[in-house]
């Protein structure tokens, strides 16, 4: 079978998976953790503990602040020291719950053993409720609450569950290691997800640069004897793991502008999310940790670590020998879509999948020069947009033209700036333009809604 890929654009950065050989090992507990109440897309959670409270690992410390929101659990056992604003990795003040670590005592009812539980409960509603209570969010980057994704709006029908194991970002290896080391759990998680969505077929998509993972997962599926789950080897191409791109590659269906994947019958979950689903449903274990790749050519002690949520980033790096002198930038996530860390005292959140250290030479942007109209940005754009045009419109704040040219379809993958020979900061401007276009669309929708309501009255 020929390897599949998405139909428009894409780039081929060197995959640099230098930490692929490092097994996932747990990071010792930090003395203090800071757990953010905004670790997901949607409304921030509301703290439900008070300063001075004793908490255990896995105990709920913040409750959802709306439907699109998630439970947050303590990742350590200890005493709540403070609840208040603290700068996140971008330097913005966000409410954090500070917990001083005392021992490692888990809350009751959580199965902390390694035994594989393959029996899947039959009640789908109960499963989704368990996922909700487990605070599971999409760990592929967007941190969208999983239970919302698993409750499709009435009228839509899921036809396929896709487990995203592409890990198309260079350097990242945590999903790869998870597939190798926790393959059974991931496959059970996938089976749970496909059962919840109505026993639809399930595809585990893995990029071709991870042949070991492909072979291992195929073996596991055979061993566990699950039906309806297949492994699909994908072409190595960035952004293969983009939700819309992956659906296009696997199902040959394109999700429309502003539409959700379910509109074409797809539900996509990341590998780490599938593992979190397994933990939440089979072991009653909420998300308290995530595997984090710590890597970079300039970083000698590359590792894949299992890190508790709320651990300060500086603690993780110090554990591995500190930041080397020639590192200029620390990135949370991969080099294409990750965010540069402005504040090393920021704490790890559920969605943190990697810390990447790059040197000045690797990451410093070259000075911008004139556009030579080569069209490489448009060729690279996986959404079929024209970044050279959008950046100009954005600089002029031409909202109407931005919307007409679909600036709001941008997925911020970074292919345009990556491939621009003139080093024009395309994505910086397109992102700004996307914001303007989205604002206009939202304002119009709100106005239409208000008008409709007024008409009703």
């Amino acid at each position: 079978m020929s390897k599949r890929t998405f139909s428009i654009g894409g780039v081929h950065p060197h995959d640099s998976k230098i930490s692929r050989g490092c097994p996932i090992c747990p990071l010792p507990l930090a003395p203090t953790v800071y757990i953010s109440v905004a670790q997901h897309i949607g409304a921030p959670s509301v703290p439900c503990v008070a300063v001075g409270d004793k908490v255990k690992v896995g105990q709920v410390i913040a409750e959802p602040g709306g439907f699109v929101s998630a439970f947050i659990h303590s990742s350590v056992s200890g005493t709540v020291k403070s609840i208040g604003p603290r700068p996140d990795l971008a330097g913005r003040p966000v409410t954090h719950i500070e917990i001083a670590v005392e021992g490692d005592e888990w809350a009751d009812g959580i199965d902390t053993t390694d035994t594989l539980v393959t029996e899947i409960p039959s009640d789908n509603k109960a499963i989704v409720e368990k996922i909700r209570l487990g605070g599971v969010v999409g760990l592929g980057g967007a941190t969208f609450p999983t239970h919302v994704k698993l409750s499709p709006p009435p009228g839509s029908k899921c036809e396929r569950v896709i487990i995203n194991g592409c890990e198309c970002e260079p350097y990242l290896t945590s999903d790869f290691r998870t597939l190798l080391e926790k393959g059974e759990q991931v496959v059970v998680g996938a089976a749970i997800l496909r059962q919840v969505m109505g026993n639809v077929p399930c595809t585990i998509a893995i990029e071709e640069n991870k042949p070991e993972a492909v072979a291992h997962i195929r073996e596991v599926i055979e061993k566990l004897g699950y039906e309806g789950i297949e492994v699909m080897e994908m072409k190595m191409m960035y952004p293969q793991g983009g939700e819309k791109q992956l659906i296009d590659a696997v199902m040959h269906r394109q999700v429309g502008s502003g539409a959700l994947p379910i509109s074409v019958g797809a539900v996509v979950q990341n590998v780490a999310t599938a593992l979190a689903v397994y933990d939440a449903v089979q072991k009653n274990k909420p998300i308290v940790d995530n595997s984090v790749t710590v890597t970079g050519e300039c970083f000698p002690n590359q590792a894949n670590l299992l890190v508790r949520v709320g651990t300060p980033l500086r603690y993780i790096l110090d554990y591995l020998g500190g930041i080397p002198a020639d590192a200029a930038k620390v990135i949370s996530g991969g080099p294409m879509m990750g965010r540069a860390v402005a504040n090393l005292d920021a704490a790890m959140v559920k969605g943190t999948g990697a810390l990447l250290l790059l040197t000045e030479a690797q990451t410093r942007r070259a000075p911008e020069s004139e556009c030579i109209r080569c069209g490489r940005c448009a060729d690279a754009c996986p959404m079929g947009l024209e970044p050279f045009l959008l950046q100009k419109l954005s600089r002029n704040s031409d909202v109407e033209a931005l919307e007409a040219n679909a600036a709001h379809d941008c997925i911020e993958c970074g292919c345009c700036l990556y491939s621009c020979p003139a080093n024009i900061p395309l994505l910086d401007w397109v992102r700004l333009g996307k914001g303007l276009a989205m604002g206009a669309i939202r304002a119009r929708a709100a106005a239409a809604k208000a008008a409709a309501e007024a008409a009703k009255k």
Binding site: I8, V11, P13, P170, K244, D248, Q254, G256, S257, A259, I323, P324, A325, D326, A328, K329, V330, P335, M336, M337, G338, R339, A340, V341, A342, L356, L358, Q362, T363, R364, R365, A366, S369, E370, I372, R373, C374, G375, R376, A378, C381, G384, L385, E386, F388, A406, D409, E412, G414, C415, L417, Y418, S419, P421, A422, N423, P425, L427, D428, R431
Partner: protein, 323 residues
Amino acid sequence: MEKLLVSPNPHIHAPVSTKTLMRDVIIALIPAVICSFVFYGWREILVMAVSVASCVLLEWAITKYMLRKPSTIGDLSAVITGILLALNLPYTTPWWVVMIGAVVAIGVAKMTFGGIGQNIWNPALVGRVFLLVSFPTYMTTWGAPQGVVDAVSGPTPLGAIQEGLMQGASVQELTSAFNYRDLLFANLGGSAGEACALALLAGFIYLCCRKVVKPWITLSIFGTVALTSLIFWGIDPARFTDPLFNLLTGGLVLGACFMATDYVTSPMSLWGGVIFGVGIGFLTMMIRYFGSYPEGVSFAILIMNSVVPLLNMWFHQKKFGRK
């Protein structure tokens, strides 16, 4: 590390810059340049040297003393303009005419519009056409090749045919004087770049392999030229030249491979590029068959250059998930 460097994503960049792209184009032009040296000897070397040097110096001087901006000669685009201009001139062109061409190419066609990326017309072609209409004597006196290879002498094939047709001869008689193998491998009077079609094609294939340019524009020019001349030739072979002859003469290969594919002055979208190429091919053939100039590639490209903004406005890439 003192302070963390912070910037939005992406944090890495492809190993590509304007300079590397231009360097690839220069590498692709090397076979053609070498061929022109071999066929036309030291005078061609002189033309080339004067052309490249004046283009680069002029761009440097204009950016430094008139625009007061950082110099852009580092991106090598002026070198390419110089090489292309030289390849578009007969090797007998006096050095001062070459310099005037460079002044028009860089000074008028490129820097007046704001430098690289802003010009509407291909600078080298503007320089060439300016010289063609201003100094027709120098520009159409095609001396016989003087290089190390034995070569036939005389006017350009297209020029000879137009003259012959005016005197009442038929095309068959006239084309029989030319050997297509010679056309492919050079040895004809003409501008230096017309010397060896094969060398140009080799360079173009290199550019395509390095993904510097996409072949659509060039292929659609070749296709249109072949098709148009096939139709006319089929109607009256005594009046109109045949397709192969048209493909191999009059700088068509040079124009289609290196002038029409210039990033700045060609459309960005696939279909825009195809329309652009078809337009060039068709206009070239119309000028050749019905115009007063024997060769039409330069004019056709310049005319289509003017339409590029419109083509960019009309033709867009297909957007994901939209009809």
